[in-house]
């Protein structure tokens, strides 16, 4: 197997591995015009293209929901799997174990992750399965027509006037508390922030959680909603300006002394963070919890890189799997030799 897919013969600019942007596109969306999920798809296409992920190495997984449909809308040529509702994490875990060379990108919704899939979400994080886990978070169940999800903020108002009585389940707060190795929050409307976060997530070895607020224009974009475009724009507290520097590229921008922090990821690439909002050290787990909690209590939506530990062992390492994908092993590597077989049976006689 060679490392790159045969690129289509189209003209136009190409990325590091010689593939054009077109190849990263998917089928036309069937989501509502203006849906935040569509913007995320576009940012994903950009990030995958820029990070030069070989399309055939990409494996896209999701659950069920409008958001989960989105994996059909980028990199059409890659394999994709739409699991049952809330179970993307276990599928992703299994696929990664079978072939550790796959670049796993999972997309889920807030219903898919924070309700029915909450257990699997937490346990994926606990195992630090190497994947990018995007929650397209709109505070409602889009596909079933607008019921509150568990990420809806307390006091948020539904389209027909009902008020949410329950505390939000905070995708990021939860991940940080659980010991996740990469946690970020972003906004579908903020490509400048989201694209470098996605690229860092691809480069990160382990579970990279991205909670991306993604307004549902049909069911949750009205006054009183805390997940509307208007509300998010007004309350977005951006922590850092972000730059992603691939492993093979030098840092070229000149950052004024002392204004930036650099996070070196496992594959040698780097994230350059320039503070914008409140002071925040993304290697400090407690600080990440504080910034999330305090933000929430002030009604602010804190976005940016909340926490990262680039060196935490991922599941394949904890399982001591060989470099060669398990699924490529054959009879010779997997069966006992006839001698060993006979000897084992002799022990049972």
């Amino acid at each position: 197997m060679t490392a790159t897919a045969t690129p289509p013969p189209a003209a136009g600019p190409r990325n590091r591995i010689g593939i054009g942007r077109e190849t990263y596109k998917g089928l036309p969306t069937t989501l509502c015009a203006g849906c935040g999920h569509n913007s995320i798809t576009n940012h994903l296409i950009k990030a995958l293209y820029e990070s030069a992920i070989p399309p055939h190495r990409l494996a896209k997984t999701s659950g069920i929901g409008c958001s989960s449909k989105a994996i059909a809308y980028f990199v059409e040529s890659a394999h994709g799997l739409n699991a049952v509702h809330g179970r993307m994490p276990s599928i992703t875990t299994g696929a990664k174990l079978a072939d550790r060379e796959l670049v796993m990108v999972g997309i889920s919704g807030d219903g898919d992750t924070a309700s029915i899939g909450l257990g699997q979400y937490c346990h994926l994080i606990r195992r630090n399965v190497d994947c990018t886990y995007i929650v397209e978070d709109n505070g409602v169940y889009g596909l079933t027509k607008g019921q509150f999800s568990a990420t809806a903020d307390i006091g948020s108002v539904q389209k027909k006037g009902q008020v949410n009585e329950f505390e939000t389940i905070d995708i990021c707060g939860l991940a940080v508390e659980l010991g996740a190795s990469f946690v970020a929050r972003s906004f579908s409307g903020d490509g400048k922030q989201l694209v470098p976060l996605l690229r860092a997530a691809f480069a990160h070895r382990g579970t990279a959680v991205l909670d991306v607020i993604s307004p549902c224009v049909t069911f949750n974009d009205h006054e009183g909603s805390t997940k509307s475009y208007e509300y998010v724009k007004a309350h977005d507290t951006v922590l850092q300006e972000l730059d992603f520097i691939p492993a093979d590229r030098e840092i070229v921008v000149d950052y004024p002394e002392g204004t930036t922090t650099t996070v070196r990821l496992h594959d040698g690439s780097e994230m350059v963070l320039r503070k914008l909002g409140p002071e925040h050290d993304p290697s400090d787990r407690l600080a990440a919890l504080r910034v999330v909690l305090e933000g929430r209590s002030r009604g602010e939506l804190v976005t940016g890189l909340l926490y990262v530990d680039p060196e935490m062992a991922d599941l394949t390492e904890r399982e001591r799997l060989p470099q060669v994908p398990l699924r490529d092993l054959g009879e010779a590597e997997l069966r006992l030799s006839p001698d060993a077989f006979a000897q084992l049976l002799a022990e049972w006689a």
Partner: protein
């Protein structure tokens, strides 16, 4: 059973009087769980096996860790019968909690070896058994200071007592101790000492008054003594399984734990520590089967193992595997349901739920191993079938088969490579000419081709989903596409039907046919011999898989009366046969059900058959008879 050590069918007695009974009786040790009686029982079993005596041990243990009654039954049978017998001949009574009931359950002429302090009052006052009091506690106390160790060694003393009373050879005990304490010479010697203690107590203080004894014979040569779960674990290893995801549950856990141990031993690179197998303890069964499906989708041979409650939890995902055509191997080591049921008792209660697991129109291949060697073979085969047919494949074993030791002929080393089924490589795609259509029936067998993620070809990718899709795996709500897919899946199931193991049929033109499957095999084999002794010949068809093979229909067509014997209340295979075989055959089928939770004994088979030979059961007679039938079918022999 009325009692784990209950009296058999009315009137049955152990060898009466003092006539010698050689190698043909059952011994039961009644102890308390958590006391370490397990190793004593194993040493006893292995010693008898080493003497060439066909043994069949069965554990009856509680769903609890410590302090509750547990019974170990070992049957000796010169003809090699391995089915549970409904009564025992020799009781080793170490448990005060069950002493009265245990003694009461003995047949007349039985032998009772008991802790001397247990009072010979009440039911234990009976005079028709031989009682050997042994001061186990005192003997242990005299020699061992540590109370835990003492409790443990008490059990080993009973082995010595039994060995001396029955005539078990020292050499056989020695080799059994070798096997049990392979790398622990200290433990070996203290256990041997305990056995000696028992032996000498008998020599010094007891007079043999019964006729039971053992003699070396040639009944186990070339045989293994192995649990079905270990055999299945080896089958998984040899079948090329590389991803195993599990969630602990009795009686499935030991399959996974055996497989982990085998992987530690055979799949681990000594130099690097790398392990050519992932064994993940999932957070629950939904995740376990999800990981299995995810891994198989990405091309690994993947499996999970569980028991009833886990099967129920997997229902949604298994339907996904069926409709999206993703392989998976799922073991169900059946225990007594419904619900939590009796977690440490055996049953064949998940046949119908596994066969049609999930909502909508679904149907899954189910392997039904009937021996430990088939546990090994079917485990291996399951991976081939799953890959070949791209669908979840069940292997239904049960607690009796899975957790008890069974004698077996040795296992065959697999011939030929894995059957990875229809997978297109990048090169294949290059040669294809037409665009790859994931769900097209190009070969006329309704089995499509697939590609694996990571295949380096721009046409390799496709989209897997549990929602409507066309031949190119594109999303669609088209009725035509939907119906087409469903009809192809139904045809694929017929292809699968032809590929499943055929039944094993033993036919000699008898009027009566017996159909059974799984762990009932042992009891049916024995029952046929006993029926034949009474002059009633029967033919036998052991079903080894669902969907049912056409040969089963042939068998039924050749027999006017066919008894479907199974270990569940509702006659699950019986129902499947009623609805799938030619309707005209329906009136031939009769149902024999045993659902006590302990392994079916031959007696129950015989009784179930004879009762209906005299007065056909109403099960086949429809609704008006159904109410009556529920009280008359089932129950013990």
């Amino acid at each position: 059973m009325a009692h784990p050590n209950g009296r058999g069918a009315a009137g049955q007695t152990a060898a009466e009087g003092l006539g010698p009974v050689v190698n043909d009786f059952t011994l039961t040790a009644a102890t308390v769980n958590g006391s370490g009686s397990q190793s004593a029982n194993l040493v006893l079993t292995r010693a008898l096996f080493a003497m060439g005596i066909p043994v069949a041990p069965k554990n009856v243990f509680p769903s609890n860790i410590e302090g509750l009654p547990t019974w170990f039954n070992v049957r000796l049978s010169p003809r090699g019968y391995q089915a549970r017998r409904a009564h025992t001949d020799i009781l080793v009574a170490l448990n005060a909690q069950t002493w009265q009931a245990d003694a009461a359950g003995m047949p007349s002429g039985g032998v009772v070896i008991h802790e001397a302090t247990l009072p010979r009052t009440g039911d234990a006052a009976r005079e028709d058994c031989t009682f050997y009091p042994v001061p186990f506690q005192r003997l242990a106390k005299e020699r061992v200071a540590n109370p835990d160790l003492r409790k443990y060694l008490t059990n080993m003393i009973y082995v010595g007592v039994v060995a001396e009373l029955l005539g078990i050879e020292d050499a056989a005990l020695g080799s059994a101790l070798d096997a049990q304490f392979r790398s622990k010479p200290r433990a070996r010697s203290s256990n041997l000492e305990a056995i000696e203690m028992g032996r000498s107590y008998v020599r010094e203080s007891l007079v043999k008054q019964d006729g039971f004894r053992v003699e070396r014979m040639n009944g186990t040569e070339g045989e293994l003594l192995v649990e079905g779960n270990l055999a299945a674990a080896l089958g998984c290893l040899m079948g090329g399984c590389t991803v195993m995801a599990w969630y602990p549950i009795t009686p499935s856990s030991s399959l996974c734990e055996h497989l982990i141990a085998l992987a530690d031993r055979y799949r681990t690179d000594q130099a690097t520590g790398e392990r050519r197998m992932a064994t993940i303890q999932a957070e629950d069964e939904l995740a376990a089967v999800g990981m299995t499906l995810g891994a198989a989708w990405a091309g690994a041979r993947a499996m999970t193992s569980t028991s009833g409650p886990g099967i129920s939890l997997m229902a949604e995902f298994v339907g996904f595997g069926y409709f999206a055509e993703v392989p998976a191997v799922i073991f169900d080591i059946q225990r007594v349901g419904p619900s939590t049921g009796l977690p440490t008792r055996t049953m064949q209660g998940d046949v119908s739920s596994a066969y049609t697991l999930s909502h909508g129109d679904t149907r899954h291949p189910v392997l039904l191993p009937g021996t430990v060697s088939e546990c090994y073979e079917h485990a291996r085969l399951a991976f081939d079938l799953a890959d070949r047919f791209q669908t979840p494949v069940f292997v239904l074993s049960d607690l009796d088969l899975g957790m008890n030791l069974w004698r077996s002929r040795s296992f065959a080393y697999p011939q030929g490579p894995f059957d990875r089924g229809k997978v297109l490589s990048a090169d294949d795609l290059e040669c294809l000419g037409a665009p790859f259509a994931r769900y097209a029936d190009v070969d006329g067998d309704a089995v499509p081709w697939r590609t694996l993620p990571g295949t380096d070809h721009p046409g390799a990718g496709y989209f897997t989903r549990g929602s409507g899709h066309d031949d190119h795996a594109r999303y669609t709500e088209s009725s035509t596409a939907y119906r087409g897919t469903m009809e192809r899946l139904a045809r694929k199931f017929e292809t699968i039907r032809r590929a499943m193991p055929a039944p094993l049929c033993l036919e000699e033109g008898s009027e009566i046919g017996l159909i059974a499957y799984g762990s009932s095999d042992a009891a049916v084999g024995e029952a046929r011999d006993m029926l034949a002794e009474r002059g009633i010949d029967s033919d036998y068809c052991r079903v080894r898989a669902l969907p049912v093979h056409a040969d089963v229909e042939g068998f039924v067509a050749r027999h006017p009366r066919v008894y479907v014997i199974e270990q569940n209340r509702d006659g699950q295979l019986f129902s499947i046969l009623r609805s799938e075989l030619a309707a005209a055959l329906g009136t031939r089928l009769r149902s024999v059900r045993y659902f006590d939770g302990d392994p079916i004994p031959a007696d129950a088979v015989i009784e179930g058959v004879l009762a209906q030979e005299e007065a056909p059961a109403q099960a086949a007679d429809g609704l008006l008879a159904a109410a009556a039938a529920t009280t008359t079918t089932g129950g013990r022999g």
